[in-house]
Symmetry: C2
Subunit: 301 residues, 2 copies
């Protein structure tokens, strides 16, 4: 399983710099140290300096390899992070030991002008031995509201990410529990609307199909069996989830009941944000750092 | 991965008899033949006899091993199936080449008195190398309405199945995308209500917990990380899906993006119904026949 790593190693420019408010989290620090040691990133850590030095020492991480900003107040640490990015001293943000909501609120504060999309959305790039290429899934961890309007933003943000990874004609599968539109199942109606949208106007060059069941989106044989015949079936680049629960359970299924690899970022600001969960492995965190770093590289695409 | 097969081989009574209306389906016939050859079932096939003999010949299945009822009219074939079961000549039903809705409508026809639950529900027993025991998941394929009332029926039917498999104190995890109740996410409120229900009255001796995320329901380490500490966390027997889309995508993820095994039945009538999908492998169909057969064995529990 090297597809994801190959994809994420496209970066060949200078290492990107990540800023981490409330950096005192051993899982985060270990993943960052792994990426730094491999020459892939630099990092600015913000937290109570004594506490941070103590933790780094216990993890055998050399603090002299890092820039440390001594600030223990959470809100002020977040504000400093924003200034660090505004001044071009860091390229992207990673969540330390802090509630994701607080980070997003700060990023969306109008005075910084960081908002680039109507919605911040969560996207995960997945590699599994059962599919011939990495695929994107969204939204598995952020938006409770996944109405038609939100799904447009989820697709816009996700297709933008795929473009940066070199996938120009992204094949987007809008998933549901069935393939036929059914008035009683709202996710099928939304999927149908999204498909029509892409037929009527160019949606970043992406091809949108739906409603599709998961097996028909990612398994050609299954699609053929069910006579589902379109360009996306069996070859999807991007799986748009019907709702947050389905997205979360699908993601967790891939991570905990199979040997899939993944990298996640929050999209919608002018820089990617790495939001790690305690349940994520350090490998997932490391891959997420690489993905964010790569997206910074391709900023202007 | 022998857990599921061991579980399904508990039957030691006489082979059960399955009746199959509209039996002209090669996938169905192959799975039935496998179970029959292993001495596990007998089968009554209903369809146009000439068509059936032709298909069986092409599949190298000996027709003299089966009872064949020559009836090509779909509705009449279904009615005959009901009489066959009513007269005790068959123990359970398997879907041939026919719409599931038509079968359910016939089974629920009051004149037969087959309805045993307020809702027919779909349940899948899953075995995966990533979990220490088989678990049940429901509802992944049938109920669009998965409101509080429907979920009670889903749980009742599923816990009844687990009892028959010898799991008396079933650990039931009601899943959502988060662990905390959130007024904006209805599935968390329903999960909370279901948990309270089981605290206030005995729910078939089952223990209900929720809302839980998938990883905390089936991974002890992940539950400990997130300080989710209850009897169900990391040891669930039964995963109650937040909605049909999540159930369907989870099931498809297990079947198409991992090496899980499964067996599915429709519950809620006085006999189990095997409803196979074209996308299911013949192994899944075979396991489903074994599960239905076992449930008949334990009918009176």
């Amino acid at each position: 399983m090297q597809l994801l790593e190959n994809l994420l190693s496209q970066t060949n420019d200078r290492p990107k710099t990540v800023v981490i408010p409330c950096a005192c989290d051993n899982h985060v620090l270990l993943a960052v140290e792994m990426a730094r040691k491999n020459g892939l990133i630099k990092a600015i850590l913000i937290d109570d300096k004594n506490k941070l030095l103590h933790l780094m020492s216990s993890l055998s991480i050399d603090p002299t390899s890092y820039e440390i900003i001594d600030e223990s107040d959470v809100d002020f640490a977040l504000s400093i992070s924003m200034l660090v990015i505004q001044n071009g001293r860091a390229d992207f943000l990673m969540k330390g030991l802090i509630d994701t909501k607080l980070i997003l609120k700060k990023v969306l504060d109008k005075k910084y002008g960081f908002r680039k999309s109507n919605r911040m959305t969560h996207a995960t790039l997945v590699e599994t031995a059962f599919y011939h290429k990495p695929f994107l899934l969204s939204d598995a961890a952020m938006n409770i509201d996944q109405s038609f309007e939100t799904k447009i933003e989820i697709i816009k943000n996700g297709v933008g990410l795929l473009h940066k990874l070199g996938i120009n004609q992204a094949k987007v599968a809008v998933l549901s529990a069935v393939e036929k539109t059914n008035e009683k199942l709202e996710s099928t109606l939304i999927a149908q609307q999204l498909k029509e949208l892409s037929l009527n106007e160019d949606f970043y060059g992406a091809i949108i199909e739906g409603p599709l069941q998961l097996d028909n989106a990612i398994n050609k044989e299954s699609a053929t069996h069910k006579q589902v015949d379109n360009l996306v079936a069996g070859d999807a680049d991007f799986l748009v989830m019907p709702n947050l629960e389905a997205g979360n359970i699908f993601y967790k299924s891939l991570m905990f009941l199979s040997e899939a690899k993944s990298a996640s970022v929050v999209l919608g600001a002018s820089f990617p944000i790495v939001v790690t969960s305690r349940a994520d492995s350090s490998v997932t965190k490391y891959h997420s750092i690489l993905l964010a770093s790569l997206l910074c590289e391709k900023k202007d695409i």
